[in-house]
Symmetry: C2
Subunit: 153 residues, 2 copies
Amino acid sequence: MPRAPQISLLEDHLGYWLRMVSNHVSHAFSQKVAGQDVTVAEWVVLRTLFATGTTTPSRVADEMKMTRGAISKLVDRLLAKDLVSRRSSKEDRRWQDVALTPSGRALVPRLAALADENDAEFFGALSDDERAALERILKKIVRQRHMAAVPVD
Amino acid sequence: MPRAPQISLLEDHLGYWLRMVSNHVSHAFSQKVAGQDVTVAEWVVLRTLFATGTTTPSRVADEMKMTRGAISKLVDRLLAKDLVSRRSSKEDRRWQDVALTPSGRALVPRLAALADENDAEFFGALSDDERAALERILKKIVRQRHMAAVPVD
DNA sequence: TATTGTTATACTCTATAACTATA
DNA sequence: TATAGTTATAGAGTATAACAATA
């Protein structure tokens, strides 16, 4: 009598390894930015505003693939920390213009440096070829699955 | 005249791409297992119990790198769904023996099939070489950063 | 009526710390 | 006193849906 068919193992899945590495990388980064009193989600908003200038919650939500409600709360927190400003647009008062404050603008390069540091910590031991391969493969998946609104590279 | 030195871009970081892909993969998987009324964290517990047999919350916490409090709540939910059982160990009544119930045991292969499906969806379009490279690089990082207690491969 | 945004509600995930039971 | 586990509390992240303001 044959044994019951084997089911696939947790570790057989690339998704498993990807999640493990990604969770560690993100967790380490969140520890680093916590020292600047921001969260990872807040960092992404700040970085988006830095790149795009004044924008609206809807556009941020689209770019970050989050709901408007979620962005609303994030922006509330960033307002409380005086890192962004928010006010009604003159053209259409349904819109809110969200922008970095001077202290928000000053903070972004510091956070970017932490991101550099974090990347070096996790990927620095890879060879140039390995890093290039990883980047290429990840971007290929992003492209095929139409994941991003962003990729400006 | 060269322009002012740029700060690193969000998209310059491998961590950024890794997180983007991983989030999408995990999100898609969570949608799939939600159809079986379980979450991803619950799935990992079930899969661990399937592999190791009866164990204790502490050991699960160690393997999953979570706190005992978090595991306690997860096990509560799994108990409520009749997917695991929990009772004091006879040897040392501080310990709790946690094990799959028959319905928990029956569910694991169905969830494993969903994991297979999800992996195929995201990584199926890669070449064999690309998949192998991705796996090798991720495991190298896991090894170097001492991420896992698990890797039985 | 359609759109932008906020608020209310809820649930998962996770941590820390206080607490209980057992040894 | 030390260990296993639970519970209380809290906060991030996220979603859905109800709502308000504006067009």
